[in-house]
């Protein structure tokens, strides 16, 4: 590596980070907050006592039964819930009526443990043979061979990281490694997904392989079918360009997917159906939920004949129509599946986080906690607010932001918006969302930088307020960026320097950077918001 390159990049990061210096006392506050946080839930002693009592009863019952019968009866040994985990393989095992959880990561450590949940109790399985610890393995229940199939994943414990391509099956008692003649070689830069197609009675795997041609490497989608003993690559004429979840409505197999690439043109959730030969896009009658932060989970509610989606909110999809639900308690985006013994969709833990190991069930109108989390809730960080009314948010922001002036907030917003965000002495960032989540507005102190990659984007300078001069521009102009001008409600933002003072890290400078960004608003609506800033 040439030293000048390193030096320039380091110097650039230095300048960038100089604007966000280490907050004074962060180390002391962070360490103290951590060590005063309970390592186990206050509920756990009672839970352990309960578990101990149950185990004792089970042992006594076993002894009695053993005394009365010739053959021993295995003791049921329920345990507490598994540690919260991200990137685990979670599947419903129909043959045994259990949820099966394998691997993932917790606290930075990769896991190779197996847990089952029968609708009431967790059990830490201790099979004689297990796959190695890994994250992001794909798994699904094979309705033909009545086993859970697990494929691949990524271990991150060793000095060299190699994407796995091994295949395992779970029969309720142990894992068995399969030795197929062919195996997909998929990259877990985009974790693969697996599901059973009831129409063709086959297990399908969808993922991306790295294909190198000359000096370039591309991620190529691949679809594979599992016969029970070998993998066969299929060659569908059309395939999604990104991966979400597979789910089945009992008749067909579907694949959800976020938009591929940069989502600046509007981030829409996509769905494809496997027609036995190819992936076919599924049309929807209304606006589909925004894909949001890229975190979502989905399962089909066979009882109610609708898809249930978690993405920070709860959504259902039936008869080609999306509906936002309003549960009294919103679980994190967990591992979701339909759980036939309870006749409802359940969500376990947090799929890309470790905030919970609870199991919640969807009763068609609300989420009900079936087994509580043993992870203590995190306190709300200082300065966070919402969701609240825009008026309440404005009051909080104006009372909190004292070191940067002026504080500009919109006097006009589209109807039905709720506000949430962060406000500190010298900074604020507020996001307004409507109920259907198809309109969002963000106002913050800062400068925007458009995403790369779209040649049609419009980046212009427009006369706005009494803005101070931007780079290469005269005073009185703001930068107006529209990601896709052909989309009347596409993403856009406006950034400028407002006359005033701004304090960052204890030093005060003149001029306050502002940004107003929006998705789902028409140009007219956007400017109505921007021109109402007071």
């Amino acid at each position: 590596m040439s030293d000048p390159t390193r030096e320039r990049i380091v110097a650039t990061f230095d300048r960038e980070l100089a604007s966000t210096p280490l907050p004074p006392g962060l180390r002391e506050r962070t360490i103290h907050a951590a060590v005063t946080a309970p390592r186990t839930s206050p509920r756990e002693p009672r839970l352990l006592a309960l578990v101990a009592a149950v185990v004792a009863l089970a042992v006594i019952a076993t002894l009695v039964l053993t005394h009365q019968q010739a053959s021993p009866v295995p003791a049921v040994k329920p345990s507490g819930p598994p540690p919260p985990r991200t990137d685990a393989a979670v599947t419903y095992d129909a043959a045994r009526g259990q949820l099966v959880v394998f691997g993932g990561s917790t606290g930075g450590r990769q896991l190779g443990d197996t847990w089952t949940w029968d609708g009431k109790n967790w059990r830490h399985e201790r099979p004689p043979v297990s796959p190695s610890a890994r994250m992001s393995a794909a798994s699904a229940y094979d309705q033909v061979h009545h086993v859970v199939v697990l494929f691949g994943g990524r271990p991150t414990g060793g000095p060299q990281i190699v994407d796995l391509s091994d295949t395992w099956t779970w029969n309720g008692q142990t894992w068995t490694q399969q030795h197929p003649a062919h195996s997909p070689k998929l990259s877990y830069d985009s974790p693969a997904t697996m599901g059973f197609d009831p129409a063709s009675r086959s297990l399908l795997l969808f993922g991306f392989a790295k294909v190198t041609t000359g000096s370039s490497t591309n991620m190529t989608p691949q679809t594979w079918s599992w016969s029970g003993s070998d993998w066969t690559q299929l060659n569908p004429p059309a395939m999604p360009q990104s991966i979400g979840d597979m789910f089945s409505d009992g008749r067909h197999l579907f694949l959800t997917a976020p938009p591929a690439g940069v989502s600046g043109a509007g981030s829409h959730f996509q769905m494809s159906e496997w027609d036995g030969r190819s992936w076919v896009g599924v049309a929807s009658q209304n606006v589909i939920p925004p894909y949001g932060s890229g975190i979502m989970s989905a399962a089909f509610d066979v009882q109610r004949d609708e898809l249930v989606v978690l993405n920070g909110d709860t959504w259902t999809w039936s008869q080609s129509r999306w509906r936002r639900q309003h549960p009294t308690q919103q679980p994190p985006t967990g591992y979701m599946m339909y759980f036939p013994p309870l006749h409802e969709v359940i969500s376990f833990g947090e799929r890309w986080g470790e905030s919970s190991n609870a199991v919640s069930g969807w009763n068609g109108a609300d989420w009900i906690v079936l087994t509580p989390s043993t992870v203590p809730p995190q306190p709300t960080p200082a300065g966070r607010f919402g969701p609240s009314t825009p008026a309440a948010a404005e009051t909080f922001i104006r009372q909190t932001v004292k070191s940067s002036s002026p504080v500009l907030l919109p006097a006009w917003l589209p109807a039905g918006m709720e506000a949430s965000g962060l406000a500190t002495a010298d900074y604020f960032d507020v996001t307004y969302l409507n109920d259907q989540r198809d309109k969002s507005i963000e106002v913050l102190l800062g400068a925007g930088s458009p995403p790369p990659g779209d040649a049609n984007s419009s980046d212009t300078y427009v006369k706005f307020r009494n803005a101070l001069a931007l780079k290469y521009q005269r005073p009185g102009y703001a930068e107006y960026f529209v990601y896709d001008p052909s989309n009347p409600v596409g993403n856009r933002f406006l950034t400028w320097i407002e006359p005033g003072t701004m304090s960052v890290g204890g030093s005060t400078s003149s001029g306050v950077w502002y940004l107003v960004g929006a998705s789902g608003l028409t140009d007219q609506e956007f400017w109505q918001v921007a021109n109402s800033l007071r």
Partner: protein
């Protein structure tokens, strides 16, 4: 409370596991600053970065018993921070730079200064994952194998991303050592 006064470095992790705040501070405390900077690079927001580091620290405290290699604290903690950032990443489709850094336009800037500002602009427009590999590889000077473990990608993928990001920045690159 166990005192750390008599503990050498090899005893710090066990003492921290046992609940010693000072030992935990000695083990994880030095990682707070690089963890915060990594979070700023990934989240581009100091408030969210602070939240991410605080949550990562709580997870580190709760999961210290799972740390198998006491010498690998840096990789372990930064991987928790990176994972926390991933789960916190907001819905923004633009990147935001809070500053300070973007000072008021000065038409009298030298071309060298303009070049550096352009580099800042290009760096701010890179995808978060590319920014993260550049930060870990160049700024923290970590080997690619460690960069890979923190970001849960292969060293080859880390190397490839460094090359790609440097190319996007239109800088020269002669060699990347694993």
């Amino acid at each position: 409370m166990v005192t750390t006064a008599s503990l050498d470095d090899s005893g710090l992790v066990p003492a921290a596991r046992a609940g010693d705040e000072r030992a935990f501070d000695a083990v994880v405390g030095p990682m707070i600053a690089p963890g915060y900077r990594l979070a700023v690079v990934l989240l581009r927001d100091s408030g969210e970065a602070e939240d991410a580091v605080q949550e990562a620290c709580v997870k580190a405290w709760r999961n210290l018993r799972t740390l198998r290699d006491d010498a690998a604290v840096r990789t372990w903690f930064l991987s928790i921070v990176a994972n926390q950032c991933r789960s916190m990443r907001r819905t923004r489709w633009w990147s935001v730079v809070r500053h300070g850094l973007l000072e008021i336009s000065d038409h009298a800037r030298s071309s060298a200064v303009e070049d550096e500002l352009d580099l800042e602009s290009q760096l701010s427009r890179l995808p978060d994952t590319d920014r993260a590999v550049l930060f870990l590889f160049f700024y923290l000077d970590l080997p690619l194998s460690e960069v890979g473990r923190i970001l849960k990608i292969t060293p080859e993928a880390a190397k490839s991303r460094v090359h790609r990001a440097v190319t996007r920045l239109r800088l020269s690159m002669t060699e990347v050592k694993t």
